[in-house]
C-alpha cells in the first residue's frame, strides 16, 4: 500500500474520483460542482474525467438538488448531492428529514435511499452566522440519517467512499478550516465504515472525545499535557450517527475521566448525547463528572476576537483536562 501526504480536500477529491470510477451509478450534482469544481475545490477534475452526465451543475435550488437525489436514489442510482455550506441544509431540510430519512421505514422497507449529501461546516473563517455553523446534532437526531465528520485527510477519503457505498442517506460534513491540512493517505481506494470510532491517541489519565476539527485541537492539547506526564486518550467517533459508544465507554473505563469537545453549541449538542450514554454505561468508573467543552449558546459571531472566543481550542481543552484531573 503506497501512502503519501495529501491535503484533506485532495484526499476527499481522490475518494470521489476513485469511487466514481468504480461505480457507474454514482453521480454528482450541485451548485458550481462541475465547471468550477466546487467552491472549496472538493470536486476538481471530476467533470473532465466523468463528463456532464455524471457531474452536473444546477441552479441555486437546494430543495430540488436534494429531492432529485432522493428520487434518483429510490431508482437505484447513487447520487452525491452537494450543499456547499452546511448552513444551507435549512433550505433543503424537508427533503432531507421528511423524505430521504423516512422513506425506508415509512414505506415498510420497500425503498432504499443510497443518497450522499456533502457539505462543509465549521467556524473560524470570519464567515459569520449563516456560513459557519455546525449542525450535526440536528441531523443526527433524525432516525434514518447517518452523519460523518471527517477529522483527517485519511478519514475525508475513507468516509466519502464509505458514505457513497452505504445504502442509506448519509451526510459527510467536511470542515472548512481543515481543507488544507495535510496527512498520510493511501493511494488505493479504501472505505471507512460508519459507526467505527478512531482511537487517535492512546493514553491512561483522561479521555477526550473530540468531534470534527476539535480532534486536531485535542491532539495539540494532548502533546502539551504529555510534557507534564499527563497521558490523554483521544477518541474521534468519526460518525456521530451511528455513534460508536462502545469504543468511548471502553476508553472511559480505562481512564475514568472524560471530556467531550465539539464546536457546535453546547446546549443539545452531540456532546449531551455522548455524555449521557457514558454515565449510563460507565457511571461506576467515573472519577469526575463527564465534562463538555463546546460553543456558547449564540450564533457564530463575525469579529475574529469573538469567533476565537467562541470556538473551543487547544489551550482551553488543556485547561479543562487539567481541571478534570484535579478532581479526586
Amino acid at each position: 500500500m503506497t501512502t503519501r501526504e495529501l491535503t484533506y480536500v485532495k484526499a476527499f477529491n481522490e475518494g470521489m474520483h476513485q469511487v466514481m470510477a468504480e461505480d457507474p451509478d454514482v453521480f454528482l450534482i450541485g451548485e458550481d460542482v462541475a465547471g468550477y469544481g466546487g467552491v472549496f475545490h472538493m470536486f476538481d477534475g471530476l467533470l473532465t474525467e466523468f463528463g456532464g452526465t455524471r457531474v452536473v451543475d444546477t441552479p441555486i435550488s437546494e430543495q430540488a438538488i436534494i429531492g432529485l437525489g432522493v428520487g434518483a436514489a429510490a431508482r437505484g442510482l447513487r447520487p452525491v448531492c452537494d450543499l456547499m455550506f452546511m448552513d444551507f441544509v435549512g433550505v433543503a431540510m424537508d427533503q432531507i428529514f421528511n423524505q430521504a430519512a423516512k422513506m425506508k421505514y415509512m414505506f415498510g422497507g420497500n425503498v432504499s435511499v443510497p443518497l450522499t449529501i456533502t457539505t462543509a461546516g465549521g467556524a473560524g473563517m470570519s464567515a459569520a452566522a449563516q456560513h459557519s455553523q455546525s449542525l450535526e446534532a440536528w441531523l443526527a437526531h433524525i432516525p434514518g440519517l447517518k452523519v460523518a465528520m471527517p477529522a483527517s485527510p485519511y478519514d475525508a477519503k475513507g468516509l466519502i467512499v464509505g458514505a457513497i457505498r452505504d445504502d442509506n442517506p448519509t451526510i459527510v460534513v467536511l470542515n472548512k478550516k481543515m481543507l488544507g491540512v495535510k496527512g498520510p493517505v493511501p493511494e488505493e481506494l479504501y472505505s471507512i465504515p460508519f459507526g467505527v470510532a478512531n482511537i487517535v491517541r492512546e493514553g491512561n489519565n483522561a479521555t477526550i472525545v473530540a468531534i470534527g476539527r476539535m480532534v486536531v485541537e485535542a491532539e495539540k492539547a494532548a502533546e502539551n499535557l504529555e510534557k507534564d506526564g499527563i497521558s490523554v486518550e483521544i477518541i474521534d467517533p468519526r460518525t456521530v450517527q451511528p455513534l460508536d459508544i462502545d469504543t468511548i465507554v471502553t476508553s472511559v473505563k480505562k481512564t475514568n475521566r472524560v471530556l467531550v469537545v465539539h464546536e457546535a453549541v453546547e446546549f443539545g449538542g452531540i456532546g449531551a448525547e455522548i455524555s449521557s450514554q457514558i454515565q449510563e454505561s460507565a457511571f461506576d468508573y467515573l472519577d469526575a463528572p463527564v465534562t463538555r467543552l463546546a460553543a456558547p449558546f449564540a450564533p457564530v459571531p463575525f469579529a475574529p476576537i469573538l469567533e476565537n472566543a467562541y470556538v473551543p481550542d487547544a489551550p482551553r481543552i488543556e485547561a479543562v483536562v487539567r481541571r478534570l484531573l484535579e478532581r479526586k
Partner: protein, 333 residues
C-alpha cells in the same frame, strides 16, 4: 420603445440636484467597494467580500426613489444597497473590521449590514433569504396603512430558489406594496444565466404570478429610478407588486476583486460592459446638458475619498468587541 432617459424626461425632468444625488450615491458605492476589497485582500480586514462594483446604478436608482421609512432587504452583495439607502461609512467600515462601533457591533460582518434607521432591513448570506422578509415588511406597511413600501434586491440566481416563487406569488395574491428587483448580472457565482435558466428575460416570470414584469437597463441610473418610481407608485396605490429586472454586470469576481480560479467569463465581455459604465454615463449626461460641470463631479469623487479615509480611520481606531459580551443580544431582554 422610447429610450429610458427619454421616457423619464416625460415623467420627471432631470434636474441638477437629481444628477448630483444619483452620482454621489454611485460614487460612494464604487469607492467604498474598491477600498474595502483592497483592505481584505491585503489582509488588513478579516473575512471575504462580495463586491457590488458595476451594479451601482441599480441600488442608487431604486433607493433614490425611497424614503427612510421605506424598507429594503438585501443580499450577500449588499454594501451597495446599504450605501444607496443612506448608510454611513463609519459604522460600515467598523462592521467590516469587526468593531463594536459597527452596524452590527462586529457580530455580522460584510454579509449582514443592517441600518434600521434608514430602512435597511439587512443583508443576507442565504441566497433568496431576504425575499420573503421584504414581503413581510410590505405586509406591515399594508397592515399599518402607513403608505410605505418594501423593496427586495436579489440576483438572477436567486430567482431559482423556492423562496422567490413563494414570496412573489404570495405578495401578488395579498396585493402587497412590495417591489422585487432582480439584479441580473448574468451569473450566479460562476454559472452563466443560460446554464441556470431557459429564459433570457427573467421579467417574463412575472406573468406567471399575474403581476407586471419590467426590464430596465441597469447601467442607466435615470432609467432605473424611473421604473422604480412607477413600481413604487403602483404599490402605494394598492395595486400590488412589480417585478423589475435590471440588466447589469459585476466588474469584479464573485468574491473579492481578483481571484478567478477558472475563466468562467470572457475578459472581452467585462470590458464591453465597462464601456457603458453607469457612473461615466451619468457624468456624460450631466456635462452634456450643462447641469453639472466636470469639476463638480470631480469634487464628489474627492469628497467621497475623504469620507472613506475618515470611515477607515474611525474603524481602525474603534475598540474590539469584548468576548465577555458574547451572549448579549441572542434574545431580546
Amino acid at each position: 420603445m422610447a429610450t429610458p432617459t427619454e421616457a423619464l424626461e416625460s415623467v420627471m425632468p432631470t434636474t441638477r440636484e437629481l444628477v448630483l444625488d444619483l452620482h454621489r450615491r454611485m460614487v460612494r458605492i464604487r469607492r467604498f467597494e474598491e477600498r474595502a476589497g483592497k483592505l481584505v485582500e491585503s489582509g488588513d480586514m478579516p473575512g471575504f467580500l462580495h463586491l457590488y462594483v458595476g451594479q451601482e446604478a441599480v441600488a442608487a436608482g431604486v433607493c433614490s426613489a425611497l424614503t427612510d421609512a421605506d424598507q429594503i432587504t438585501s443580499t450577500h452583495r449588499g454594501h451597495g444597497h446599504a450605501i444607496a439607502k443612506g448608510a454611513d461609512f463609519r459604522p460600515m467600515f467598523a462592521e467590516l473590521y469587526g468593531k463594536t462601533t459597527g452596524y452590527c457591533k462586529g457580530r455580522g460582518g460584510s454579509m449582514h449590514i443592517v441600518d434600521m434607521n434608514r430602512g435597511m432591513l439587512g443583508a443576507n448570506a442565504i441566497v433568496g433569504g431576504g425575499i420573503p422578509i421584504a414581503v413581510g415588511a410590505a405586509f406591515a406597511s399594508q397592515y399599518r396603512g402607513d403608505g410605505t413600501v418594501a423593496v427586495s434586491f436579489f440576483g438572477d440566481g436567486a430567482t431559482n430558489i423556492g423562496a422567490f416563487h413563494e414570496s412573489v406569488n404570495m405578495a401578488a395574491v395579498l396585493n402587497l406594496p412590495v417591489v422585487f428587483v432582480i439584479e441580473n448580472n448574468g451569473y450566479a457565482e460562476f454559472t452563466p444565466q443560460d446554464r441556470h435558466m431557459k429564459l433570457t428575460d427573467i421579467a417574463d416570470r412575472a406573468s406567471s404570478y399575474g403581476i407586471p414584469g419590467v426590464i430596465v437597463d441597469g447601467m442607466d441610473v435615470l432609467a432605473v429610478r424611473n421604473v422604480a418610481l412607477e413600481a413604487i407608485d403602483r404599490a402605494k396605490r394598492g395595486e400590488g407588486p412589480t417585478l423589475i429586472e435590471a440588466k447589469t454586470y459585476r466588474y469584479f469576481d464573485h468574491q473579492g476583486i481578483k481571484g478567478m480560479r477558472i475563466l468562467y467569463r470572457d475578459p472581452a465581455e467585462v470590458e464591453a460592459w465597462k464601456t457603458r459604465d453607469a457612473i461615466n454615463l451619468i457624468e456624460a449626461i450631466g456635462v452634456e446638458r450643462g447641469l453639472v460641470s466636470a469639476e463638480e463631479f470631480a469634487e464628489i469623487w474627492a469628497q467621497t475619498e475623504a469620507d472613506i479615509d475618515d470611515g477607515i480611520e474611525f474603524a481602525r481606531t474603534s475598540p474590539d468587541p469584548d468576548p465577555v459580551d458574547i451572549l448579549d443580544d441572542v434574545y431580546t431582554a
